[in-house]
Amino acid sequence: MKPSTYPGVSLDEAFRLHGAELVRVAAFILGDRGAAEDVVQDVFVRVYERTELLGGDPQFYLRSAVINGCRTMLRRARLIRRHAERQGQQSACPPLTTEEAMLLDEDRKRVLAALTTLSRRRREVLVLRFYLDMSEAEIARTLGISPGTVKSTAARGLAALAKQLREAS
C-alpha cells in the first residue's frame, strides 16, 4: 500500500507523486486516455486555485476528485459512454495507445478489455483494489460507500470478469 497522507504537500509534490498514477486510474475507469488526462487536469486546475484542498489528506482528496471527475465525464460524454461503457462492446485495450498495447501479451489485453465491460461501480472498485492496492476501508472512504458494499461489489466484479474471460476463451 502506498502512503496515504502527505502533510503539507505542495502542488508540485502532488503532481510528482500522483499525477501519472491518477491518469492511469482514470484511464482504466474511463477507457479513454484523452478523457482521463482531461479529468486529472481539471482536478489539478481546481487544486491550483484552492491549494487548501490539499491541506488534509491530499491523496484521498485527489483520488476522490478524480473518481468524481470520471463519473461526470461518463455522464456527460456520449462518445465516452459509447466507447467505454457499452456492455459487450469493449475495446481491445482502450486505455492504451496502439504502440503501448503491442507491449502487452494477449491475456493482459483480454483482461483489460473485459474490465471495460463491467459497470462503472465495479470498475472503480476493482481498479482501486487491484491497481492501487487499496484496502476495502480505503476504497469505501474514497467512493463514499460502505465496506460491505465494496466487498460485495469486488466479489461480483471479479465473478463477472471471470465469466467474461471464460466466455471469451
Binding site: R33, G34, Y48, Q89, P94, P95, T98, L126, A159
Partner: protein, 402 residues
C-alpha cells in the same frame, strides 16, 4: 458458477494486467504544474479586461433579448421563413419556437426517441421512435436554418470493422408536428460525430472517423478530415489537415449564417484544452488541404489566454465559444462571443456555475443552448442568464438542436 480458485486466478490476472498496462502507459509530460500555471496566468489576463466587456455585453444581450421578446409577442408566434431564399438576418431575430431532442431510455440503445417540444413550456408537440436492436449509440443532431428541418447522423456501434453512418432529415410543421422523417444523402463509411448543414439545406458537412466504434477510445490515428456532401448531386469533397506532426480531429463543425464559411474546430487528440484550433473553411473550394482553403480564426496562444473548448459560427462573422475551464473559471462556464478573427475582442454572454456544458446554437448563430453535464436541465442564454429548456430530461439525451 465461478469457483474460488477461478476468482483468485482472475484477481491475479487482473492485478497483473493493470500493473503491466500501467508500466507501458506513458503519461505525457504535458501534465505538469508549469502548464497549469501558464493557463492560469492566461486566465488572470483574460479576466482583467473581460470585466468591463462583460458589463457592456450584458447591455447588448439584454437589448437583443428585448428585441426577441418583442418578436415573440407577435400574434402568430411563428418564426420567419428564414435563410432558404430569405434573409438570414430575419431568422436571427426570433428565438426558435421548437427544439428537438434525441434520447435513449435507461435500458440501452435499442430505442431511439425523437421529441419536438415547444421552447416555451416544453410541451411535446410530436415524437417519433426508432426501435430495433443496436440502433446505434449516440448521434448528432443539428438544424438547418429557417426551413424547420433537423438532421441526424446515426451509425451502429459495432466492435469490429468500420460502421456506416446514415443521415436522416426530420422536418416539422409550423405547429411542431413531425411531417417528414427520411434518410438524406448517401451513407458514409465511418463514425460521424459532428454534422453541420448549410443554411439553405443544400449541403451537409461532417467528419467521418474510420475506425471501429468500440475500439481505441477517442483516439483517431490520423489527421482531421472534413467532408461536404452536396445533397442534390451527391458530390462529396474532402479537406484534410496537412500537418503531419500531430494527431488531429475535427471535433465540431458549424456553418456561418451566410453559408460562405464552414467553421471547423480542430482538436489535437490527447492534448490539453489549449489544443483547439478553429479554421474558417471555404466550403466552395475544391477540397484537399484544410489549411490551404481555410483562414485560421482562432489559435491558442502560448499562455492559453484564448483557449476554447468549442467554437461555433455566430452572427456577423463572430464565433460563439465555450472557454476552456483553465482559461475561464474552473467549475464555471464562460460563453463568449469573439468578434475578431484574432480572437482578441471577446464579449461575455454567460458566466455561471455550470460543469462541462455542451454548446449548441441555432442556425442563425444567435441563440445559444447550453446542456450542462451535471444537470438534467438544458437552457438557452439571454441577458446573461440561463433560461431552462423544459423537457430535456434524465433520459440519456443523445442530441439536441433548435
Amino acid at each position: 458458477m465461478n469457483d474460488e480458485n477461478e476468482i483468485e486466478r482472475t484477481a491475479a490476472r487482473l492485478k497483473a494486467a493493470l500493473g503491466a498496462a500501467a508500466t507501458v502507459m506513458v503519461v505525457r509530460p504535458a501534465l505538469e504544474r508549469q502548464r497549469v500555471e501558464r493557463e492560469f496566468e492566461g486566465v488572470k489576463r483574460v479576466r482583467g479586461w473581460l470585466i468591463p466587456l462583460a458589463a457592456a455585453a450584458s447591455v447588448v444581450v439584454i437589448a437583443v433579448g428585448a428585441v426577441a421578446v418583442a418578436h415573440l409577442a407577435s400574434p402568430d408566434g411563428t418564426r420567419p421563413a428564414g435563410a432558404r431564399g430569405g434573409s438570414p438576418a430575419a431568422a436571427q431575430a426570433t428565438r426558435p419556437e421548437y427544439y428537438l431532442t434525441a434520447t435513449y431510455p435507461a435500458t440501452g440503445p435499442n430505442v431511439l426517441q425523437f421529441q419536438v417540444r415547444r421552447t416555451d413550456g416544453g410541451a411535446v408537440t410530436s415524437s417519433r421512435t426508432i426501435s430495433g436492436a443496436n440502433v446505434g449509440w449516440g448521434g448528432y443532431l443539428t438544424a438547418a436554418a429557417g426551413d424547420r428541418a433537423f438532421y441526424f447522423a446515426k451509425y451502429p456501434c459495432i466492435q469490429t470493422g468500420i460502421p456506416d453512418t446514415t443521415f436522416y432529415r426530420i422536418t416539422i410543421t409550423n405547429s411542431g408536428r413531425i411531417s417528414g422523417f427520411a434518410p438524406v444523402g448517401r451513407p458514409v463509411k465511418g463514425m460521424v460525430t459532428t454534422l453541420a448543414v448549410s443554411p439553405d439545406g443544400s449541403a451537409m458537412a461532417y467528419n467521418a472517423l474510420e475506425k471501429a466504434c468500440a475500439t481505441g477510445g477517442l483516439t483517431q490515428p490520423g489527421a482531421a478530415s472534413v467532408s461536404v456532401a452536396d445533397l442534390s448531386t451527391g458530390r462529396v469533397r474532402t479537406w484534410q489537415d496537412t500537418d503531419a506532426t500531430q494527431m488531429t480531429l475535427a471535433s465540431r463543425l458549424s456553418w456561418t449564417p451566410d453559408g460562405r464559411t464552414l467553421v471547423v474546430d480542430e482538436s489535437v487528440r490527447g492534448g490539453l484544452r489549449g489544443g483547439l484550433t478553429v479554421y474558417g473553411l471555404d466550403p466552395a473550394s475544391s477540397g484537399g488541404s484544410l489549411q490551404a482553403h481555410s483562414t485560421t480564426l482562432l489559435r491558442p496562444g502560448a499562455d492559453c489566454s484564448t483557449c476554447v473548448k468549442t467554437a461555433l459560427a455566430g452572427p456577423d462573422g463572430s464565433l460563439i465559444a465555450l472557454q476552456s475551464p483553465a482559461a475561464g473559471k474552473p467549475g464555471r462556464t464562460v460563453i463568449v462571443r469573439i468578434s475578431s478573427t484574432a480572437g482578441r475582442h471577446r464579449t461575455v454572454l454567460f458566466d455561471g456555475p455550470l460543469q462541462n456544458p455542451g454548446l449548441f446554437t441555432d442556425a442563425s448563430g444567435q441563440w445559444v443552448l447550453l446542456w450542462p453535464a451535471q444537470s438534467v436541465t438544458a437552457g438557452w442564454i439571454s441577458g446573461g442568464r440561463l433560461h431552462p429548456l423544459p423537457g430535456v430530461g434524465p433520459v440519456n439525451p443523445q442530441g439536441i438542436a433548435w
